[in-house]
Symmetry: C2
């Protein structure tokens, strides 16, 4: 289960996740890593994602109704933004916080998840060009 050998596939997957700077789907990891190691298999992607997660190197990001994405673990509290057009997910370093005071008596807030949806910079620029 724990990764013991530094294979080309492992390095490619880790590199891809590091350089993307955004959470990636297993399929996206496969596409991107295939550019480095063309024989890359989906099974290998899943195996390495599992290993990287067990080693606390990456963490999963799950948006409602979507498959898990994976990002390099950073220990800064953050949330996510998804573009409705290209469907890419970006990290957002904002947090309003202070939700406890809105809950009814007797309820305790221990954690929270905030997801923003809209249009990313790239898709916005794309549209401007088209018109």
């Amino acid at each position: 289960m724990t990764i013991e050998r530094k294979t080309r596939q492992y390095e490619a997957i880790r590199t891809v996740l590091t350089e993307a700077k955004r959470p990636l789907l297993a399929q996206e990891v496969l596409s991107l890593a295939s550019a480095i190691v063309p024989t890359m298999s989906l099974a290998t992607v899943y195996r390495n994602l599992k290993g990287l997660q067990a080693n606390n190197i990456i963490t999963s990001v799950i948006l409602p109704g979507q498959n898990p994405r994976y990002e390099i673990k950073n220990h800064i509290h953050h949330h996510h933004f998804q573009c409705r057009y290209c469907e890419q997910v970006f990290e957002v370093n904002l947090c309003p916080g202070g939700f406890e005071k809105f809950m009814p008596e007797g309820f305790t807030v221990e954690d929270h998840e905030l997801i923003l949806y809209g249009e990313c910079k790239e898709c916005s620029a794309q549209k401007s060009k088209e018109s």
Copy 2:
């Protein structure tokens, strides 16, 4: 697809959703509605949930990594709180809002989702008793 007959099953499912005052899983709808119509089948639950949704009477609530829940559609903007212990989901009428100003240049926020996790009143009271 559209519901044309008011069956006992349909009424039971609608009643259960109305009285729960919180989003229910298909399985929870089955359990609760079975108390009213004991022969209720899971297929009937799914069929009616689909019909109610098509008629804009209910809406689905999807938490990350979980199966859809269904609640009577109310047109007030709200979010959800899930108890980590009993896993029930509650409606929360709070919204910090004003997320746009935290996004980098070029990004537009069109919608958002906020989910709070913690301990509900009932589970909190339960613990006090035990100790």
